[in-house]
Subunit: 156 residues, 2 copies
Amino acid sequence: MQRTRFGDMACSIARTLDVIGEPWSPLILRDVWVGISRFEQIQADLGISRKVLTERLNHLVDQGVLERRPYDHRPRHEYHLTQKGIELVDLLMVMTTWGDKWLAGEAGPPVLYRHHACGEISQVDLRCTHCGEPMHAGDIDPLPGPGAAAHARPGG
Amino acid sequence: MQRTRFGDMACSIARTLDVIGEPWSPLILRDVWVGISRFEQIQADLGISRKVLTERLNHLVDQGVLERRPYDHRPRHEYHLTQKGIELVDLLMVMTTWGDKWLAGEAGPPVLYRHHACGEISQVDLRCTHCGEPMHAGDIDPLPGPGAAAHARPGG
DNA sequence: ACGACAAGTTCCTTAAGGGAACTCTGTTTG
DNA sequence: CAAACAGAGTTCCCTTAAGGAACTTGTCGT
């Protein structure tokens, strides 16, 4: 289906999609995050095709988001999040917050997060790293940065 | 390619992917967000196939993330973010932060955000809505919520 | 030696993305 | 008044990715 590569665009959103934008990848990360970390476990949990799971795991390992770690003398391994991968969980938490609000419906959220620091059931909120005030769509102006390729189209 | 539908899973990540998980969708949202809002503009900016762009726009409108708004007597329209869509921009900002940190390389970030409240070039940080402390992967425990389908597999 | 098991591979079918050409509706221009 | 124009899609064909089931490989316990 010769899908367009996003990684070459001068856009951090596009580049991020190149790492975890393929179908299933965020769900695989979620599984690994919550401790479902072996091939058979992930395959059974998600119902994903074994072929596609192999491709996704290889890609995520290649990208440095997951690492393969043996847990036996046999050729057996678990997948674990690298630091790069752990920081992607931010993305999953924001997806969860949005999905809980707009798509959960009557039944309510399927999963709750308890925050260690305060012990409350809570959600994430986006704040400015500088002043600590809320930082959402209407609160910012996008400006060209140093990596803005003057001519690089498409995908500025 | 008969892709599996994620929307039926009892998982807000999966459900969110059902709305914006298809290739190009986040980039279309980004374009609309920054004011690239007409069919021809988006098509030219992204280099996306017209056929796929039509499909994505229809889906995003169906999902209530975008709305079609006429700007002329002729059959001409612009796409605009609904409230549901505006809140998805949180996700784009977190993707940008991650991509800036891990994928921008030497050149640095292609786009910078200036925060209105403080005037600084800044990024988003995830905080607990309850106590205001940082809330990242290691700071929480996931618990089953009211919408957790006891038997709904796969994708809990 | 033999069966079990995790972790892939292989192979076939179906459908989604890419891309170019075409259509439709209404509008300026000559 | 006909012709060219423009935005917003449609249609068609080709290639490739996802689904799914069956098969392979390496190692262990008995």
